[in-house]
C-alpha cells in the first residue's frame, strides 16, 4: 500500500522538479555564454503566468487542438510515474516496460503532431512533418539500445533492469558503452535539444517542437511546455537508472530513500551541466544532417548488440 503512496509522491515530485531541471540547464547555459540569465526557478514563474492567461484559439482549430495538451501532459506524467526515480520496486513500475514507455512518448508525439497540423498554418505542418521524421528515425536506434540492455539483463522492465545492475558487482560491458552513447544521442534528439532542435528559438526554419505548439496560448501552452520539461527529466532519469543506477533505493526505508533522492539530485545536476556544456559547444545542425546523426546512434546501438553477441555470450 505504501508502495502506491510512494508512487504518487514520486510522481508529484517529478512534476515539481521538472521545471527546475530545465531552468537549471538554461541558467548554466547563460552563465557559459556569459549572459545575465534568468534564475533557475524562472520556469515556475512562466508556467504560473501561462496558467493565469486566457486562451486564444484559432478559428480553424478543432477539438483535437484543445484535447491534445491534456493527452500529451497526461501521457508524459504516466510515463514519469513508471520510471524509477529514487526507488525501485514501486508497483507502478509493472504497468509498463521500456517498450511501453516508448509507446507512451509516441502517443504524446502523435497528438502533438496532430495539434500542429490542426490550425492549418504552414509552420505547424512543417513542425509535425519534421517531428515525425526525426522520431521515426530515432525509434529504431532507441529500441536497438534497449534491446542490447535487455539481452544482458534479460528483462525490459526498468525496475528489474536497474535491480539486476545493482546486484551485479561493477562490470564493464562493451555493449553497455556503445548503447549508452547511442541512447544518449537518441535522448538528445527525442527531447529536442541542440543539435537537433533548439528549444530557445522561434526561427521558423530551425524550430521543430516550437513550430508545432506555435498556435498554443495560456494553459494549453503551459501544459505543453510542462510536458516537454517532464520529458527531459524522464529521459535524464532513464539514463541515470540504466547507466548510473548507484544510490537508488531498493527498499522503502527512509534512509535509502533519502540517499536515492540525493543521488538522483546529483545525477540530474551533473546531467544538466553536461547538457548545457554540450549545447553551448555545438551548433544546431541542418535538418537533413539529422539522418546521419541518428544513423550514427543506430550504428552505435547495433555495435553494442553485436559486441554483446560476439564478445559477451559464451
Amino acid at each position: 500500500m505504501n508502495g502506491w503512496i510512494l508512487a504518487i509522491v514520486q510522481t508529484s515530485l517529478l512534476l515539481l522538479c521538472a521545471p527546475l531541471l530545465t531552468g537549471w540547464v538554461k541558467w548554466i547555459k547563460c552563465k557559459l555564454q556569459s549572459r545575465q540569465g534568468a534564475p533557475p526557478w524562472q520556469p515556475y514563474r512562466d508556467l504560473f503566468k501561462l496558467f493565469k492567461k486566457e486562451v486564444v484559439l484559432a478559428e480553424s482549430a478543432s477539438p483535437i487542438f484543445r484535447v491534445a495538451p491534456y493527452i500529451v501532459f497526461g501521457v508524459t506524467v504516466l510515463a514519469g510515474s513508471v520510471v524509477p526515480m529514487f526507488a525501485i520496486g514501486l508497483p507502478t513500475a509493472a504497468i509498463a516496460d521500456v517498450i511501453v514507455l516508448v509507446g507512451f512518448f509516441a502517443l504524446g508525439r502523435f497528438f502533438l503532431a496532430l495539434a500542429g497540423m490542426d490550425v492549418g498554418t504552414a509552420f505547424g505542418g512543417m513542425g509535425s512533418s519534421r517531428e515525425m521524421t526525426i522520431s521515426s528515425l530515432a525509434e529504431p536506434a532507441m529500441l536497438m539500445g534497449v534491446f542490447t540492455m535487455a539481452m544482458t539483463v534479460h528483462s525490459t522492465n526498468l525496475a528489474s533492469m536497474t535491480r539486476y545492475l545493482l546486484e551485479q558487482p561493477l562490470q564493464l560491458y562493451p555493449s553497455f558503452v556503445f548503447s549508452a552513447m547511442g541512447l544518449l544521442l537518441v535522448a538528445v534528439a527525442e527531447t529536442g535539444r541542440i543539435p537537433i532542435d533548439n528549444p530557445a528559438t522561434h526561427l521558423e526554419l530551425t524550430m521543430v517542437h516550437e513550430a508545432m505548439i506555435l498556435e498554443y496560448t495560456g494553459r494549453h501552452l503551459a501544459l505543453m511546455e510542462w510536458g516537454a520539461m517532464l520529458k527531459l527529466m524522464i529521459y535524464g532519469m532513464l539514463l541515470g537508472d540504466i547507466f548510473f543506477p548507484w544510490g537508488i533505493a531498493d527498499s522503502f526505508a527512509p534512509l535509502p530513500l533519502l540517499i536515492g533522492f540525493l543521488s538522483l539530485f546529483l545525477k540530474l545536476f551533473l546531467l544538466g551541466l553536461s547538457l548545457a556544456i554540450m549545447e553551448t559547444g555545438l551548433a544546431k545542425m541542418r535538418f537533413f544532417r539529422v539522418p546521419q546523426y541518428l544513423g550514427l546512434a543506430f550504428i552505435l546501438c547495433l555495435l553494442g548488440m553485436l559486441s554483446h553477441v560476439i564478445l559477451e555470450i559464451n
Binding site: E54, S60, Y70, M132, A141, P291
Partner: protein, 670 residues
Amino acid sequence: MALNLVYLAIVAAFGSAVLPILFCRSTVASKLVAFILLGISGFFGVLGGGMALLGKVDISAELPIGLPWLHCHLHLDPLSGFFLFLVSLISLMAAIYGPAYVREYQQGSQPLLPLTLFTGLFVVGMDLVMLADDAFSFMIAWELMSVSSYFLVAYQHQNETNRRAAFIYLLMAQIGGLFILLGYGVLASFSGAFDFSSMQAVELSPAWSSLAFVLALIGFGMKAGIVPLHVWLPQAHPVAPSHISALMSGVMLKVAIYGFIRFVYDLLGNIYWQWGVVVLSIGCISAILGVLYALMQHDLKRLLAYHSVENIGIIYMGLGLSMIFAGTNHPELAALGLIAALYHCLNHALFKSLLFLGAGAILQQSREHNLEKMGGLIKRMPVTAFCFLIGCISISALPPFNGFVSEWLTFQTALQGTILTNHILTALIPISAAVLALTGALAAACFVKVYGVCFLGLPRSQNCAEATETAYGPQLSQILLAALCLFFGVFPTWTVSQIENIAQILLPAGMPMATSHGWLWLTPVSSDVASYGAPMVFLGIGSAWLIVWLWLHPRRKKMEIRIAPAWDCGFGSLNARMQYTATSFTMPIRRIFRPVWFIAENYQQPGENAPGGRYQLKVGDWAWLKIYQPIGRLLLATAKRAALIQGGNIRVYLVYSFFTLLFLLWVVSL
C-alpha cells in the same frame, strides 16, 4: 452446436447471395434482404466461431459432395473458429455499413444484384475455407473466394482502373491458387489422399517438406500480399466498394494467413527454423516497404491498402519468430510468437476495416479520394472523424489501443532470441525488431499525415467544404469497430488466454506465465522480464487527464476562451493552399529513403501556362516496374514470335506435318 451455427452462417450468406435475385423487382427489397441476411450470417458466424475458439471444440463432418472417392470433409477447431470469428465479425459490420453506402449505386445505372450476389458468395467462400478439411474442398472454397471477390473488384467496371485492377487481381489469384494446389499435391502424393487428416499423418523428408513449404509460402503469400507479390493489392482494394475493401483488406488477407498457418503448423507438422528465418525476413521486407510505399500514396484507400501489406509483414514477422522457436524446440516461445501473430490478425482486421469504412464514408460524403483535396472534415463529419482517429491510433501501434498489444508481444518474442544457441539468429532477431520499430514509427508518421491532411486544417476543395456526416448505419458500424479496438487494447490478458487455445492445439504448448498475474497484468514470459498493465495505462492516462482538467476547471469561469484568426505573420489572412500538403509532409522521408521508390519529379518554373509554377511528383513501385512489366512485355514478344507458325501458307503447314511425321518415324526406327 458450434458447427451448426457456422452452417447457419454459411446458409444465410448463401441466401444473401441468391435470394435478392427473387426480389430483383425492387432494388430496395433486394438490398434489404441481402444485407439483413449477411448480418445474420455474420452474427451466427461470430457465435459459432467464438464458441469454437473458447470451447476448444474439435468437430468433423462430411458432406456427400465433391469427388466420388473423396467427399467434402469439414472440420472446426479453435484455429478455424478464430478466423471464422474475424470473417463473420467484419461481414456483420459490412452488413450494418452497407445499406446506406450502396444507396449511391441504386440511382446510378449500376445494377445492385451483382454486388449482393458476389458479396454473399465471397463470404460463403471465406467461411468454407475455414471449414474445409481436404485439399479439394479447400481449393474450391478458396477459388470461390477469389473469383467472387474478383467480380466485386470489377463491380464498377466502367472505370478502366477497376478493370485493370480486377484483371491483375484475378491473374495473381489464379497463379497463387496453382501454387497452393501444388503444395497440397506434394503432400497428397506422399499421403496418397487429399484429406488433411492423412496429410498430417505422413512424415516428409526435409527436402520435400521444404518444397511444400515454399509452394505454400508463395501461394498464400500471393493472396496475403507479401512483397514482392503484393502488386495486385494496392490496385484491387481501393477500387472495390468500401465495405468490400474492408472485407478484402480486413479479412481476406487473414484467410490467406489462416491457410498458411494451417498448412505449415498443422499439415507439415515439424517445422525447420530455416523456414522461420525466411518468413521473418519476408515479413521485415514487407513491413518496411509496405509502410514506405504507403507514405507516398495520396489516394486514401490506396494508402490503406499499402498499410495492409505492412501489417501482413508484421504478422509474418510474428509467425517467423514463432517458427524459428518451434524449429529450435522452444514451444512456449513459439506459442508466444504465434499468439502475437494471431492477435495482430485480429487487430488488423478491426482497425483496417474501421479505416476503410471511414474512408468509404469520406468518399461517399465528399466524393474525394485524393488526400490533397481533403481537409477540415473533422468539423463536418465529427463521428467519422472520431472513429477514424481511433483507427489511426490503433494502426500506429500506440497504447492503450489494440495495435500496440500485438506489436508489443512481437517485440517480447523477439527479445527472447537470446536463448537461441545459434548466435547468428541471436544477432539477426534484434535487427528485425529494429525494423519493426521503424515500421511502427513510420506508420505513426503516415497516419499523422492522413489524419492531419484529411480531417484537420482547412478544406482544400469545395466538395470537402460541403461534406456532411454519414448516415446512421455507417456511423454505428464505425463506432462498434472503434469500441472493439479499444476493448482488445485494454483487455489483452483475456484475449491472449483465449487465443492460447489455438497454440495449445497446434504446437502444442501454451504460455502458462502470460496470464498468471490476473486479468490486470500481461506478462508474456514472467513478471520481472516484461509486463504490461493495459487497463492501468488506460486508467492512468484517463485519470491524469481528469486530474489536470479538474485542477484547471475552477479557473475556467474567470478565463473564457477567445476565438481569433490564426496568426498569419502579418501577411494577410491564411488560406487552404498555405497548409502543408500530404506531399510536403512526407518530403523529408522521401528524401531520406529516396532509393526505395521510383520517383519522377518535375518542377515547372512560373510561366504563362502555369502561373505560380507547377510541381509534379510521380512515385512508382519498383516491384511493378522491374518485375511485372518486363514479364508482361516478354510474354507479348514471345506471343508475337510464336505467331509466326501460323503464317498463312498452306504449303508451310504441310511441311510441318511432313517433318513431324518424318521425325517421329526416325525416332521410332532408332
